[in-house]
C-alpha cells in the first residue's frame, strides 16, 4: 500500500471477506493544509495541549497527521457553565487539495455545550476536507452536537469524531448529510461512566453517484448506560451507502441497553445499500436490540397516501422529505433548524 493510502472505518469484528464490507480504503490525493472555520458565538476557553490527537477512523492515519504536524485546538467549558445558544462553526472548505481541522473539547462537570458544525464546500471544488473532533464529557456534562454537511458534487469529506462520556453525561448527536461526492464518517462513543447516555440521529439523502461510508461504534462500559441510535436514509439514482453500526456491551455494563434502528428508503433501481448492524454482548444483564427496514414503502402507507390523491412518485417524495424533517426537528432549536432548512437545504420555513 502506498504512503498516502489507508485502511479506514474497520469494523471491530470483521465478517465474510467476499462481502467487502469490513473496511474502506482511502487515498489522500494531495498536500495537507490546516483549515480554520469561522465561528459565530463564543467558543469555550482555549487551552494549550500537546498534539497527541488520536481519532477513531484509523491509527495509521493518526500517525500520518502527527507526522505532518497539523495543529489541534483544545477548548474547555468550565464546570457548571451552560452555553445558552448553539455555537456555530462554519466550514467552507475547498481552496486547497486536502484541508484538515482538529479540535478537542472538554466539557467539565455539570456544564453543557451546544455546538453546530455547518459544513459546506466551495462551489465546483473537487478537493477534500478532513474534520477530526474529540469530546470528553465529565460527570453530568451534556453535549448537543449538530453536524450538517452540504458539499459540492465532486467534493470528498471525512468526519472522525470520538466521544468519551463519564458518569451521567449525556450526548445528543444529530448528523445530516445533504450532498457531496463522498462522505467517510467514523463515530466512536465510549459510555464509560455509569448511567451515561447517547442519543443519535443520523440522516442522509444521497443521489447521483454520491457515496457514504459509516462506521459507528458505541462501547457500553458503565452500568445502566443507554444508547439509542436512529439512522434514516434516502438513496436515489446511483447512490452507494454502507452503514457499519456496532453496539458493544462490555463485561460489567450491568443494566445497559443499546438500541439501533435503521430505515432506508430506496428510490431508484441502481442504488446500493449495505448494512451491517453488529451487537456484541459480553454481559448477561443487558439488552441489545437492532431493527432494519430496507427497500420500498410498505403497501399500507402507500395505499393510504394514494387513496388521498397522491401519485406513487409524490408519495415517495413526501416520505423522503419527512425523514429529513424528523431529524431536523429533533434538534429542538429554532435557529439551527431554520439555518439548515434555509441556508443548507434552500427551503423556506413554514412561518414565512
Amino acid at each position: 500500500m502506498k504512503e498516502n493510502q489507508f485502511i479506514i472505518n474497520k469494523m471491530p469484528v470483521p465478517t465474510f471477506r467476499w462481502l467487502k464490507m469490513n473496511e474502506a480504503k482511502l487515498e489522500i490525493p494531495g498536500e495537507l493544509t490546516a483549515y480554520q472555520p469561522s465561528v459565530e458565538g463564543k467558543l469555550p476557553e482555549r487551552i494549550e495541549k500537546e498534539n497527541d490527537f488520536s481519532g477513531s477512523m484509523s491509527t495509521a492515519l493518526d500517525d500520518f497527521f502527527r507526522e505532518e504536524r497539523l495543529p489541534v485546538q483544545s477548548f474547555v467549558l468550565r464546570e457548571g457553565v451552560e452555553s445558552p445558544d448553539y455555537i456555530r462553526m462554519h466550514f467552507q472548505n475547498g481552496e486547497n487539495a486536502v484541508e484538515h481541522s482538529a479540535y478537542c473539547f472538554t466539557v467539565e462537570e455539570g456544564a453543557r455545550l451546544k455546538l453546530f458544525l455547518a459544513i459546506e464546500s466551495l462551489e465546483e471544488s473537487k478537493n477534500m476536507a478532513f474534520l477530526q473532533e474529540k469530546f470528553l464529557l465529565k460527570k453530568n456534562a451534556k453535549l448537543d452536537l449538530v453536524v450538517a454537511v452540504k458539499n459540492a458534487k465532486d467534493f470528498a469529506h471525512l468526519q472522525d469524531f470520538s466521544f468519551v462520556l463519564e458518569e451521567k453525561a449525556k450526548l445528543k448527536l444529530t448528523s445530516l448529510l445533504l450532498s457531496g461526492k463522498s462522505h467517510h464518517i467514523s463515530y466512536q462513543i465510549d459510555l464509560n461512566g455509569d448511567k451515561s447516555e447517547a442519543e443519535l440521529h443520523l440522516d442522509y439523502v444521497l443521489s447521483q453517484k454520491e457515496k457514504a461510508d459509516f462506521n459507528l461504534v458505541v462501547n457500553h462500559r458503565g452500568k445502566k448506560t443507554i444508547s439509542n441510535i436512529v439512522a434514516d436514509g434516502v438513496l436515489r439514482e446511483d447512490a452507494v451507502k454502507i452503514f457499519r453500526g456496532t453496539i458493544d456491551l462490555k463485561h460489567g455494563a450491568k443494566g445497559a441497553s443499546g438500541t439501533e434502528q435503521e430505515n432506508v428508503l430506496l428510490m431508484d433501481d441502481s442504488v446500493v445499500n449495505q448494512t451491517i448492524p453488529v451487537i456484541l454482548c459480553d454481559e448477561d444483564d443487558v439488552e441489545g436490540n437492532h431493527g432494519a427496514s430496507i427497500g420500498r414503502l410498505d403497501e399500507e402507507s402507500l395505499f393510504y397516501m394514494q387513496s388521498r390523491g397522491l401519485s406513487l412518485e409524490a408519495a415517495y417524495e413526501l416520505v423522503a422529505e419527512a425523514r429529513m424533517e424528523n431529524a431536523i426537528h429533533s434538534i429542538m432549536d429554532k435557529r439551527v433548524e431554520e439555518y439548515i432548512e434555509e441556508e443548507l437545504r434552500g427551503m423556506r420555513s413554514e412561518e414565512e
Binding site: F16, S270, I276, P277, S293, G295
Partner: protein
C-alpha cells in the same frame, strides 16, 4: 425482585462419548499431514477416475495458496499437519446391519440409527471415520428411481457423469481454504438423486461418526432433486471426545430443481475437541423450495453458515436454526441467502443460547442482486445469555442492490426477563420451573421444526434442566 440467575445443566454427552479403542489391523490409517503423496494415496485407495485425481491435486494447490480466515473464532489450535485425513475401517460397505462389524454396529446401535431406520426412514447411510460402512434404501423408494448411495460407487456407475457435472461446482475449492482442503482429501458421503416428479414421502438419513483420534472427516454430500420432486434429508453427526483436535470439513451441495422441494435437517453434535468447518450450499431453480433446519450443539469451534442461492424466479428458502454454546465452545453459526431470481423470498429464524462461558455468534449475509426484482427477505435472530461468563454476538450483513425489494431485520440479545419470571411465579409456578419454561419456550419455535426421528437425541440436547438459582 432479586436478580437471580438460572443455572442450566450441561448437556449429557455420555451417550456420545463412548468409544472403541482402535486396534492395529482393524483400520487403515494414512500418515498425518497433507502432501501430494498423501492425496495421491487417498486417490489410489479410492480408485478415483482420472478427473477426480486431477481435481484433488488442483485443490491441494489451491489449499496451499489460500489464506486462513481473518474473521470468526480462533482456530490456531488446529494444525492440519497433525490431522490424519483418511481412516478406513477394515470393512467393505454393507447393505444389511448384520454384515457390519460388531464394534461399529454397536456404536450405531447405541446412537439409535438402525432403530430409527426400522421405524421411520426410507433409507440410511452410516459413515464411520472416512468411509461409509452401511447404506440401504427401501425397495419401494428405489423402485421410484431414487438413487441413494455412497459417492464413490456412484462415481463409477451410470451417474458418474452427473457427479462430474455437479461435484464442487456450487462450492468450488477456491471458495475458502477448507473447501480446498475438502477438495483434496474428501472421502465418503452420500449421493442422492430424486427423479422428476417423485415425492419421497419418508426421510432419508445419513449419520456421520468420527471415531478415530486426531483424525479429520471430509465427507461429501451431493443431492439433486429434479423438477417437481420432493425430499427430506436428515444428517446427524457425533464423535467421542479426545484431548487432541479433530477436524470436520465436510461439504454439502444441494441442487433443487424447478418446482422441487428439499428439506435438509442437521443435528450437529460433535464432541468438544472438534473443529467443525463445514460448508453447505444449495441452488434453487424456479418455484423451488429449500428448507434448512439446523441444530448446533457440539464441537469446540464451529464455522457453519448454509448458503442458499435463489437463482430461479419465485424460488424460496427458509433457514431455522438453534445453537447452544456451553463451556469451552465457540459456535459461529448462521445462514447466507443470495437472491438472484425475481419474486424470490427468504426467511432466517434463529435462536442461540450461551452459558458457562460459551460463545455463540450469529453471523449472516442477505444479498439481493439487482435482477432480483420484488425479492423479500426477513431475518429474526434472538440470543439468550444465561450467565455473565458467556458471550453472544450478532453480525448480520445486508446488501441490497435494487429498490424493488423489501428487507427486514430484527435482532435481540438479552437474558431471561424478570417480569416474565415474576408473571409465571404469580401464577403459582416455582421460580426454577418458570425459568426452565422460558428457556424451553425460547428455543421452541426452532426445535419444533426438527425431525421427530431425532427425538431421543434432541431430548438430550435441548432439554434444559433448571436445577437451582444463585444470587
Amino acid at each position: 425482585m432479586a436478580k437471580d440467575r438460572a443455572i442450566v445443566e450441561d448437556i449429557d454427552r455420555s451417550l456420545y462419548d463412548f468409544r472403541y479403542e482402535e486396534k492395529e489391523g482393524e483400520f487403515y490409517k494414512i500418515k498425518e499431514g497433507l502432501t501430494e503423496d498423501i492425496v495421491l494415496e487417498i486417490s489410489e485407495k479410492k480408485n478415483d477416475p482420472e478427473w477426480m485425481r486431477d481435481f484433488r491435486l488442483k485443490s491441494l494447490e489451491i489449499y496451499h495458496k489460500a489464506e486462513m480466515p481473518n474473521w470468526g473464532p480462533d482456530i490456531s489450535g488446529l494444525n492440519v499437519d497433525n490431522i490424519v485425513t483418511y481412516v478406513k475401517p477394515n470393512t467393505e460397505m454393507s447393505q444389511t446391519w448384520e454384515e457390519v462389524p460388531e464394534d461399529i454396529k454397536n456404536t450405531f446401535e447405541k446412537l439409535g440409527i438402525p432403530e430409527a431406520e426400522r421405524k421411520s426412514l426410507a433409507g440410511v447411510g452410516a459413515q464411520y471415520d472416512s468411509e461409509l460402512v452401511y447404506h440401504n434404501l427401501q425397495e419401494e423408494v428405489a423402485r421410484q428411481g431414487v438413487i441413494y448411495t455412497d459417492i464413490e460407487s456412484a462415481l463409477h456407475g451410470p451417474y458418474g457423469k452427473m457427479i462430474e457435472e455437479h461435484f464442487m461446482k456450487l462450492v468450488p475449492p477456491t471458495d475458502h481454504k477448507f473447501a480446498a482442503l475438502h477438495g483434496a482429501v474428501w472421502s465418503g458421503g452420500s449421493f442422492v438423486y430424486v427423479p422428476k416428479g417423485v415425492n419421497v414421502e419418508i426421510p432419508l438419513q445419513s449419520y456421520f461418526r468420527l471415531n478415530a483420534k486426531g483424525a479429520g472427516q471430509f465427507e461429501h454430500t451431493l443431492i439433486i432433486v429434479d423438477e417437481g420432486a420432493q425430499l427430506h434429508f436428515i444428517e446427524g453427526c457425533s464423535a467421542p471426545k479426545y484431548n487432541v483436535a479433530n477436524l470436520h470439513a465436510g461439504c454439502v451441495e444441494l441442487f433443487v430443481g424447478k418446482n422441487a422441494k428439499l428439506r435438509y435437517s442437521t443435528i450437529e453434535n460433535w464432541s468438544k475437541n472438534m473443529y467443525n468447518l463445514n460448508t453447505k450450499r444449495a441452488k434453487v431453480e424456479e418455484n423451488g423450495i429449500m428448507e434448512w433446519v439446523s441444530g448446533s450443539f457440539g464441537s469446540h469451534v464451529s464455522y457453519l453458515y448454509p448458503m442458499t442461492i435463489l437463482k430461479g424466479d419465485n424460488a424460496r428458502s427458509q433457514f431455522t436454526g438453534v445453537t447452544f454454546a456451553g463451556k469451552g465452545q465457540n459456535l459461529d453459526t448462521g445462514a447466507k441467502m443470495v437472491h438472484i431470481g425475481k419474486d424470490t423470498s427468504s426467511f432466517i429464524n434463529t435462536r442461540s443460547i450461551s452459558k458457562g462461558g460459551g460463545i455463540s455468534t450469529y453471523r449472516s449475509a442477505v444479498v439481493i442482486q439487482n435482477q432480483a426484482k420484488n425479492a423479500k427477505s426477513a431475518v429474526s435472530c434472538q440470543s439468550l445469555m444465561l450467565d455473565d461468563e458467556s458471550r453472544s454476538d450478532t453480525v448480520p450483513a445486508i446488501d441490497v442492490r435494487t429498490n424493488k425489494a423489501d428487507v427486514g431485520h430484527e435482532a435481540k440479545i438479552g437474558r431471561i426477563s424478570d417480569d416474565a419470571v415474576f408473571y409465571l411465579m404469580s401464577r403459582g409456578i416455582s421460580e426454577e420451573e418458570a425459568k426452565s419454561l422460558i428457556v424451553s419456550g425460547f428455543a421452541d419455535s426452532v426445535s419444533k421444526e426438527l425431525p421427530l426421528e431425532y427425538a431421543v437425541e434432541m431430548n438430550n440436547l435441548i432439554r434444559l434442566e433448571m436445577v437451582g438459582a444463585i444470587g
